[in-house]
Symmetry: C2
Subunit: 342 residues, 2 copies
DNA sequence: CTGAAAGCGCTAACAG
DNA sequence: CTGTTAGCGCTTTCAG
């Protein structure tokens, strides 16, 4: 069997001491004689001994492992958040095990179960789009297994969360449109059950109110965040008798899909239709015209989520769940700044 | 301690049988009486017993875990490959633990060491750009720890690899340019030490030869795959006295950066400069003009890599390393098709 | 058909 | 200062 790894036993036998002596020597336990300690450490280095985390995990019931569940691995939004989680986790000696829910409720439950079976120390996740029942988290809450939600959240009074100021951002976008001369401002929103959808719609409405514009339900199009669905939503909006002159997408992918569709219909951006996205990835500055977008600190969001996770791990007492709200910034580019007709 | 998880012991005590009986009953061992088996399984289900993978791992020296190292987590290319790995790994009961090398040789070594310390069953990875010394893999090869490289590879005679037909693809791009009327065809290549760089340059040269064009070293610009560096490379090319009329980037990100720079200099694509990328991500169809690109089957590449990994895990005998070559496809769009002047 | 015991690698309480 | 023992959760001989 274990030709592969040297264990304490290997060292103990070679040096003719007991396993516990080796164990202590390696951790510089004061009880152990200087000479023995030196010899043990020297041999350990030579043999490239590394403690077996399985054994320690078994003993301590701790794996230094964080389960991460995302609805989608490919999108910039999620991959950059994962990057943030990985970066902070790593700095603190944690490993991340990734699973993808593919926006499915069933898969999400399965991922959760699997990761718990693996004995991860806790979970950092973003809810799947489909998820409307939140009872599968009961178990974690009862067992006090660390849990952090980011972006799409639920049960925020019980679970730590990291989000951005969705409402404020949406409000700012709406006002920006108004100030740029747009009057029929539409919003392509996500699925109704998501908090981000609700909050951004709330901000959108607030923004309209700020500008004395009335809310028109036909200007609110829902999509399931997929590209085809965003395209369809755009088509619905553009087909309205009274066509919108501005569209704000729930994320950049949605906005890119909208951009493609708007161009396909030979409408000009920003002159015929203004467009704003949400996330601000690199491609916003590559597309034509450059996309105005809300700068969403995704990498930071990942790091914050990991931070909230660590806070839970390192506390024995159950502290009230922390809510981290990151601030966004509107980055104005060409897609929402038409020449004002005074 | 373990309020959290029920163990065989829990069940054994409740049923007043021995631990080994429970262990056997759960695996339907024929030795165990039908009645006992039924009772054990029933209670196990009720108590939601799940075997502790740490204990099994300790015993079997196997964790069902794959270490994945990528140079970058955020780029579409890598995130979609990770997605492919995750998908296949999951189907076979494996978990993936992700680490990022940030294109650094030192970090790559560190990631590798860390993952091995964690006792992953093997490694699937893409070399960091900086990596030029490949001796840190000796240990894995000697210990016969499964290892798979994808995209950027080394020691291909000893290690299983998944790549695409880089040379052929580059050749096809070059010929496509020629057939579209371009004559001064430039290439923004990656760092010289990478196989993908070498192979694509070889294909580029072959393509030039096919078209009876001579190779001009000034039309070959290297970059480090970062956006600023790709921009700089573009600038160098565009500043040439005899400016190229076509540029083929080593990947889409490079091509997008080039596109941005070309536009900034008020040159028209495809009329003044033709442009082709490599990877073909969604954004290729959003930018203006749509980017011609080589369709790189990234998700499949991830799945293939996982497949090669599993092949190694499931074989006792050391089989010769398999080389999987995936085929690409040139997707011609607007950025490389100027109106031919006959 | 079932139980006891050893061992995977490690730590910690308890002896000496 | 060092060794013995027990135990984390599990599988696998070996007894009975």
């Amino acid at each position: 069997m274990s030709k592969r790894h040297v264990s304490l036993k290997t060292i103990a036998q070679a040096l003719n001491v007991s396993i516990s002596t080796v164990s202590r020597a390696l951790r510089n336990h004061p009880d152990i004689g200087a000479e023995v300690t030196r010899k043990v450490q020297e041999l350990a280095r030579e043999l490239q001994y590394t403690p077996n985390p399985l054994a320690i995990g078994l003993l301590k019931d701790k794996t230094n492992t964080i389960g991460v569940i995302v609805p989608d691995l490919v999108t910039y939004f999620f991959s950059s958040i994962i990057s943030g989680i990985e970066s902070l986790a790593n700095e603190h000696g944690y490993y991340i095990v990734i699973r993808c829910s593919y926006e499915s409720y069933e898969k999400e439950k399965e991922c959760l179960e699997n990761l718990l079976k693996l004995r991860v120390d806790g979970i950092i996740m973003c809810l799947a789009q489909e998820t409307q029942d939140y009872t599968h988290f009961n178990h974690l809450l009862e067992a006090e297994i660390p849990l952090v939600f980011f972006d799409r959240v639920c049960r925020a009074d019980e679970v730590a969360t990291v989000v951005v100021d969705n409402k404020e951002a949406a409000r700012r976008i709406t006002r920006h449109f108004f100030e740029s001369g747009y009057r029929r401002i539409a919003h392509i929103a996500g699925p109704a059950q998501l908090n981000i959808t609700r909050e951004r719609i709330a901000g959108y409405k607030q923004g309209l109110a700020d500008c004395n514009l009335s809310f028109d339900n036909s200007l609110l199009a829902h999509c399931d965040l997929s590209i085809p669905s965003a395209t369809a939503a755009t088509q619905r909006l553009l087909a309205l008798l009274s066509r919108p002159d501005a569209i704000f997408g729930v994320n950049d992918t949605t906005a890119f899909a909208a951009m493609k569709e708007i161009k396909r219909q030979h409408l000009r951006i920003p002159d015929d239709v203004g467009l704003v996205g949400f996330t601000d990835e690199f491609h916003a500055t590559v597309v034509n015209p450059n996309l105005t977008s809300v700068m969403h600190p995704t990498f930071e969001m990942g790091r914050e989520a990991a931070l909230l996770f660590l806070a839970q791990v390192n506390t024995k007492i159950a502290l009230p769940p922390r809510q981290t709200v990151l601030t966004t910034q509107l980055v104005v580019r060409e897609s929402s700044t038409k020449a004002l007709v005074e």
